[in-house]
Amino acid sequence: MAGGSALGSALGAQDAELLTVAEDVCRRARKAGADDADVLIGAGTEFSVTVRKQEVENIVEASSRALGLRVIKDGRVAVSYSSDFTPDALARFVEEAVERAEISDVDEAAGLPDEGYGQVDPASLDLFDPDIEDMDGDRAIDLARRCEQAAFDHDPRITNSGGASYGYNTGSRVLVNTRGFAGASRGSGCSISVEVMADDAEGKKRNDYWYTADRFFRNLESPEEVGRKAAERAVRKIGAGKVPTREVPVVWDPMVSRTLVGLLARAASGELLYRRSTFLLDLEGQPIASRLLNIVDDPLMPGKLGSRSFDGEGLISVRNELFREGTFVRFLLDTYTARKTDRRSTHSAVRGVGGTPSVGTSNLIMLPGPSTPEEIIASVDDGLYLTELLGFGDNITTGDFSRGAGGLWIEHGKLTYPVTEINVSGNLKDMMRDLEMVGNDLDFRSATVAPTLKMAKLMISGL
């Protein structure tokens, strides 16, 4: 559907008001001397309930809004933000933003996009659940209680809880610029989550969690299912210990395989490209990974958490391939990084009210393969089923990867005893090549998703 008419039809009164404010701020910025400007307004509502051992722990409820203004004057850039929307405050705010640009140096690559503006009909993307705000406090408490109770009921070894929560948020995003772009879209999200624990030796507690999240309440897993999965994951860790240091095959649970995809997308960011700080530098177009590696960034999937109708600079949302059958297809770029590297934007800008646009992802997906998770585990004779990563020991410049880990040991194709306090390490370049199997189990509980996968070898440090 065409963008213009859709915008009008999908807009609520609140969004229309925000658009008016944003347009007004843009006009004022021009009047104050800016050559170009864009204004982003984020307005939202959050509500959450947490119960622990069936008692209400907290209830949080609030609405908020904030405005970010980017101005470009003589090739100099400044960004200012405010949450004070009164006319006097906004007038002062705009003047200060334009003054602030004088601090910056002239940057030829800076500025608004020249082409590519537009938006996909937000209605076609199913971003907003109109029923989500009907939830009253008592029903939310009930959902959280049912979730936690299901975990306790599932296994008597579950003795404690870190709490169960139900929460939702709704929000509008409005972006207007001096090149005539005006976009608005409204989205929602909700989740049920719980963390539970079982007692183990030496006062240690074996904990795990599970959650379900979606834009639409009706698509959530039942609270009972969430509770049961958390309990299963926690009790299977009882008796966890270290294993000897050696190189073994590793099967990645989807809870952790998505971390890997996130790291590859970071390495494919145009920001690290022009800063020459990514191990993917000079590898565009080359077959560098296993043919099983396919990664896309797709903002156009209806109803998914990372979907959006336009990017952080007002460019129309498009699907981008990052890896196709092991070939590194392209870097993700916003306008600035595209100009810095003589390329075109891939419409991958993300933007918060407090800063300039930067490169980011929408629905970042490692495409599923043919194998079931069971087949993948069954293929390993002696190796690690990795369910947990701890820490931030990655170096995107070199590709070196080293993180704390936990999981279950696989013997003769079967999950056996739990493993903890170990470390997994390798280099992302080798790890991409060593991808041997890819699962068929994609679960869109987050904006970045990947299936179960198997890597031929990783170094495990333990005893």
């Binding site: 008692e55 601090i103 910056s104 406090g137 006062g203 704390g404 470390n423 390490s425 333990g462």
Partner: protein, 486 residues
Amino acid sequence: MAKQPQLQDYSAAAARALFRTRYGIDERALSELLDVALSRGGDYADLYFEHRQTSSISFEESKVKTASGGITQGLGVRVLAGDSTGYAYTENLSMESMRQAAATAAKICDRRDRVGPVNVAEAATPDRYHIDKPSIEIPSAEKLSIIHRADEAARAYDPSITRVNVSFVEEVKHVLVATSDGRLSADFQPMLRFNVQCLSEVGSSRQTAVDGGGGRLGMEYFVEHPPEAVAREAARQAVTLQKGVEAPAGYIPVVLGAGESGILLHEAVGHGLEADFNRKKTSNYSDRIGQPVASELCTVIDDGTIDHSRGTINVDDEGNVAKKNVLIADGVLQGYLQDRISARHFGVAPSGNGRRESFRNYPMPRMTNTYMLPGESTPDDIVRSVKKGLYAKAFSGGQVNISNGDFVFSVTEGYLIEDGQVTHPVKNVNIIGNGPDTLSKVTMVANDFKLSDGRWTCGKDGQSVPVGVGMPTVLVSGITVGGTKQ
């Protein structure tokens, strides 16, 4: 900023005055809002007002790329009914919006037994980060000169340094906390953070490294930390990494250098001693007060009172004066980091550790500056005692699982120790240990205590707060190093 009334001094009184003059928040307004918050019953309520001004300059390719900044202000209202918290916030400091937020937070209670009016009286607060002028009010030319000096020094350090990124981030926060037990506390909280990142390129081998620091002070930070020194340190680390060999994999002795290694305490001990986890008995330190949880060489302190340190606070975000709290004395667990809810649960006084990221968040027990007291060994003795191990000097971050005690931290500058000598630098490597187990393996503690430069930010439940760490050189006789070379 420029066209708003300037506040003459930078202190609690200034914070108090800002909310009164700019937003009309006087004793009467506070009393009324607390009355609304407790209108449906409740044991306690507090109001947290925050006015936060930030400014940052990002510099790259020897140019200022972006200048950014802004102001946020708001009120967070909390109502406690037993251990249950009702929380609401608003950015709009009109009486109508604030009343509405108070009424929303009040919904946690349904007893309808109105508590009655509360009057608040100002409480005295210490002044641990007095400054003449926050850097945010200094003309930008002075900051740009600092930034250029750093850029030039990093490039001059070594011809392989091809890119230098510098950031200069400033914040001033005015806070006002009014509680239903009648206390009114105010604070003025400045913060400065200076950062230099360098890329070293030798052929196709590229390495990046970062250094920086800051604290609750203004431009005087640079008297003790010239921008050139910060820049050279970042450049030195990037160049050193060019010579990095594969790090060892396995369970080996690790010598932790003075200063930054305090991150070990933050992860291995600090988080697990936050009293919310212990009240819920979800920490591996639950019910262990009075028991040995570390070697006798370890005395660990959380100290919110160090002048101008990044983790220092005059009062916490519940209005309690910050303290110096001994967590572990000679290896024995002494107590937890308390906020109001947990202090009531344990029947102890609040320890001044109730902190929050902003008015949008309710407070939780959090660390301030966490450090280990020095011992009697010398750093040389410690290194000489190790036949084969790792010397860890600089770090990028860490994480802990509170329940089972597993923690990690990532080494960005480390060296092999061979036959008592520090030899080759190693590639970035992660280290994983288990809280009480690792602390029991601290077998030597040196006399060279150092507080880290102010660069650390701690995350918990999605809330970030600035913290400090400190450490003497120590030997951990065995811990798992996650390298690639067996």
